[in-house]
């Protein structure tokens, strides 16, 4: 029976391509092949704010189709805040003038309403990593290519940042310690096995860290994570089970290097948060595992469910038929030999191929 496990990229040196796209069409500011630094702007556009609707019919106390009689401006005309837009004579011979509450253009007149479109606000997209412009996507952005380490995570708090990697716990099974949040923390992306207390996140905020990578974090802290200014990435699990050894080891090896955190994800579209650590391209990159790869004996896998959450091992036996698990669920799976030598039958739904 062929098994096609989900893949989590934990690759120490590979070619990484990442789209940097505007939310709406705009201008691409880069050339093909151009070298970029993380803070360079690669594309920009102007975001359209919400329309402002002025109920002129109600203001003037006239039927909707009579509003045009009192209009001082035309559709498409640019307005400053305070520009007179409506004028209605009163019985005393004077006139009441209504002014625009916002700057913009008169976009539309409908059913006695004036719709003003305020001026657009600029949006800029930065490269967010060292690399080259691999591809231009007209009016939308670029594809930045870099060489380096790539780690895919399971959850992110939804922001992006760059900073130097700094170890925050003794190993992947330990919690972030206050001692690790020293004077160098403010420029750093801290990585640790797990964080279990909100006070630790507060301390990171006070020290203006650039980001946090943890193997696991309780749901209550994840729910509060959006309130912090720095991005948070969880690589393995929700809870306090820590970080998978290969991921912690890789981050440890690259401590002190610049890392880019992409903590946003769209689960429905299969996008995951990522940690990218650009490295000099002086050796051959290992290609990323392709989707649809068949699971084979010897593959390194991570287990996604308790009591083995986050544990890593090697596939040691494949089965042609379904088999009962330790709790009596009959399903397809493989034997995994864990790093302590224990052999566990794992349903393939609970496996991540680390590659």
């Amino acid at each position: 029976m062929d098994i096609f496990p989900s893949i989590t990229h934990v690759n120490p040196f590979t070619a990484i391509k990442r789209e940097r796209l505007l939310p709406s069409p705009g201008e691409v500011t880069m050339r093909l092949g151009q070298q970029v630094s993380p803070i360079q702007i690669v594309a920009r556009t102007r975001e359209q704010p919400q329309f402002v609707i002025i109920n002129a019919s109600k203001l003037l106390a006239v039927p909707p189709d009579e509003v045009v009689r009192y209009l001082l401006i035309e559709e498409g005309q640019t307005l400053a805040k305070g520009t007179p837009i409506l004028r209605k004579p009163t019985r005393l011979g004077r006139a009441k003038v209504y002014k625009s509450p916002t700057e913009g253009i008169l976009y539309h007149i409908y059913n006695g309403r004036l719709v003003v479109q305020p001026s657009p606000q600029p949006i800029e997209i930065r490269a967010m990593m060292h690399g080259y412009i691999h591809n231009l996507i007209p009016h939308r952005g670029v594809v930045v290519e870099a060489y380096g380490a790539l780690v895919q995570a399971i959850w992110g708090s939804g922001k992006e940042n760059i900073g130097k990697l700094k170890q925050g716990s003794a190993d992947g099974e330990s919690a972030l310690t206050a001692a690790a949040i020293d004077k160098e923390a403010h420029a750093s992306i801290i990585f640790a096995g797990y964080v279990a207390e909100a006070v630790m996140l507060d301390t990171l905020e006070q020290n203006s860290v650039k980001g946090l990578i943890v193997g696991s974090m309780p749901a209550a802290l994840c729910a509060a994570a959006a309130g912090y200014t720095f991005p948070i990435i969880v690589t393995d699990a929700i809870g306090t089970t820590g970080m998978a050894k290969p991921i912690f080891r890789l981050l440890q090896e690259l401590e002190g290097r610049d890392a880019s955190l992409f903590a946003s994800s769209n689960v429905r579209d299969g996008e995951r948060p990522e940690i990218i650590i650009p490295l000099p391209s002086d050796s051959n990159p290992t290609p990323l595992a392709l989707p649809g790869v068949k699971l084979e004996i010897g593959h390194t896998v991570r287990i996604a469910r308790s009591p083995f959450t986050g544990q890593v091992g090697k596939v040691s036996r494949l089965y042609q038929r379904t088999k009962s698990s330790a709790i009596g669920l009959r399903m397809s799976g493989v034997d995994v030999t864990l790093q302590d030598g224990q052999v566990v039958y794992v349903p393939y739904a609970n496996l991540d191929l680390l590659a």
């Binding site: 402002v52 959850w155 996604a304 083995f308 709790i327």
Partner: protein, 577 residues
């Protein structure tokens, strides 16, 4: 396409039917073996609709390859295309069809006059289609026009659904809402304007078409009078829009469609067809509860009518996180102590890893507790939607079919029955089966292609019979006899049993076995024939046997947590779990 004449001369056609779900794409091969039409093989592979594949074809091909390996039958050409029709050497299949639930739901913005009349009817329509209600506007909405327009623009719905007013009634207030929609449509820039469905006062139809433009569909007024609700026309149109706007854009679905002669069917619709088929076949009311990864569906069919209720807010996958406000409800179904934070962590983890399955007993029972809460909430909503706000349970039924892996893949079949009893708290006598091989939707499609073949397939064991349940309504002190049962079967002989109030008992009756049951409830209990009234019935066995549920209705759980956990363990033990 085969001519009818040509088909008449052929054997019953072989069919390959794919179900493309959110997490898994399963493929089932039906054909004649040993002279009987049956489910020959079934395989599952990950659904490949999203990154990194972005091609549903891949997952289906993986599943087909597994079937080919298991059966030795060549189904795909070297280029991955399906071999169809089958040739005389048994290569390929005659028909390919598919059901789809992987597509995102239609995002619908509701506009209606009154919350508890027009919007309530609109929600009844939405519960029959794979939809997600993103927001709603009614006369009770305290947002001003600007905020309502902003909401319409921000939500970017696929469909704006307008309803309200009875035919012949006043039109002014509904027209005001229609003009707010018209203003919003005028402000939507670019090509992505939502479709508008108008199901309101018929006097406004012409004006609505003029105001809202060409992408407006007019259907029957949901409430032509206050006493009448008609949702069929609107549901039909929304199903069509779901196909066009959501299913059709699933990457790779076009290639799969080219293999077959049939349009893809939304999975809940196919399940509904099959439930209706069962009701006709067995001449009894049939209930299906499907607790899926992203959707929970309840379908109830009798010989005249089929009702479907879908809830996209609940599911055992990503949306399991929606249970976060109900931690205590979850805890009350646990057999072991687990604090609220641990349950919350699990909800988040499971929502991020929706495909995963339990590896410890604690998590198995936790998932089953989630299924109980999700199932109860959905069944209550379905009952309220079908029978009015006060209703909280569905009427009695003769056959219950469970779908969804938490229900069907329990470690022991007794756990499945216990979950179903806790969720539905049914009263009466009924048979229970599970769609263990996840083929019910495929059978729904097959019922259209070869109705007779479905009967043979069912006889061949496409569903797993769990047995029969005698569920008592009533209440008495524990220790008192609730019902006296005498079972006579060929294998066991005569078996007499007194079942005490507050307990569950299981009588052994294996698959394929038949027994006579003489049932005599005490005067405080009812098995469907009136308090204290007994009957002798014929029942059939299954993986569990015959279950007597004398816990009473409504089912009360002990307030003390330790006592409650002990009781849960006892019930689990009694039902063989």
């Amino acid at each position: 396409m085969h001519d009818d004449d040509e088909r008449d001369n052929k054997k019953t056609p072989s069919c390959l039917i794919a179900e493309i779900g959110h997490a898994t794409s399963s493929v089932a091969l039906f054909d004649v073996a040993d002279g009987v039409y049956r489910l020959l093989a079934r395989a599952a592979a990950p659904t490949t609709a999203t990154t990194p594949w972005k091609d549903t074809l891949r997952g289906v091909q993986m599943g087909i390859n597994q079937i080919a390996a298991a059966t030795g039958r060549q189904l795909l050409m070297n280029n991955g295309e399906l071999i169809t029709p089958a040739n005389d050497e048994g290569v390929g299949v005659d028909y390919f069809a598919m059901t789809v639930s992987a597509a995102a739901p239609l995002n619908v913005f509701l506009v209606g006059l009154l919350d508890d009349v027009s919007l309530a009817s609109a929600r009844h329509v939405m519960s029959q289609v794979y939809t997600n209600i993103v927001d709603s506007i009614s006369l009770a909405d305290d947002r001003n026009e600007q905020e309502q327009v902003e909401a319409l623009l921000k939500q970017q719905p696929d469909v704006i659904f307008i309803t309200g007013g009875t035919d012949g009634g006043k039109t002014e207030r509904l027209l005001t809402l229609v003009k707010t929609v018209a203003l919003s449509l005028n402000l939507i820039q670019g090509e992505r304007k939502p479709a508008v469905v108008y199901a309101g006062n018929s006097a406004l139809r012409e004006q609505v078409s003029t105001l809202l433009g060409s992408n407006t569909y007019i259907v029957d007024n949901l409430r032509p009078s206050l006493e009448v609700e008609q949702t069929g026309d609107a549901a039909l149109l929304l199903n069509k829009l779901y196909g066009e706007l959501k299913m059709a854009v699933l990457p790779g679905l076009g290639s799969l469609e080219a293999w077959g002669q049939f349009e893809p069917v939304p999975t809940p619709q196919a399940v509904g067809q099959m439930v209706s088929y069962f009701a006709q076949l067995y001449q009894k009311r049939v209930l299906t509860l499907d607790i899926g990864s992203e959707t929970v569906t309840v379908a109830l069919a009798d010989q005249d009518h089929t009702r479907i209720y879908m809830d996209n807010n609940w599911g055992m996958g990503r949306s399991v996180q929606h249970l976060a406000p109900y931690l205590r409800e979850i805890q009350q179904w646990l057999t072991v102590e687990m604090d609220e934070n641990a349950v919350l962590d699990f909800l988040w983890h499971k929502s991020l890893r929706p495909h995963t399955v339990p590896m410890s007993e604690a998590e198995l029972y936790l998932e089953q507790a989630l299924a109980r809460v999700i199932g109860q909430k959905t069944v209550q909503s379905a009952a309220a939607s079908w029978y009015g706000g006060a209703a909280s349970s569905v009427p009695s039924f003769g056959l219950l079919i469970a779908r969804g892996s938490t229900l069907t893949q329990a470690s022991r079949p007794g756990q499945t029955i216990l979950m179903l009893l806790d969720i539905l708290q049914p009263k009466g006598i009924f048979a229970v089966a599970t769609d263990r091989y996840n083929v019910l939707s495929a059978l729904g499609v097959l019922a259209h292609i070869e109705p007779v073949a479905v009967v043979q397939t069912l006889e061949g064991g496409a569903l797993l019979d769990l047995g029969w349940v005698i569920a008592l309504s009533g209440r008495a002190q524990s220790g008192q006899v609730a019902i006296t049962v005498q079972m006579r079967s060929e294998r066991v002989g005569k078996l007499d049993l007194e079942v005490e109030a507050g307990t569950i008992e299981t009588l052994p009756l294996g698959a394929g076995e038949k027994a006579e049951l003489s049932l005599q409830p005490s005067r405080r209990f009812d098995i469907g024939f009136g308090p204290g009234k007994g009957k002798t019935i014929t029942v059939y066995g299954g993986a569990v046997g015959v279950v007597i549920d004398a816990r009473g209705r409504p089912q009360n759980l002990p307030k003390d947590a330790a006592a409650r956990r002990n009781m849960m363990r006892q019930w689990l033990w009694d039902i063989g779990g």
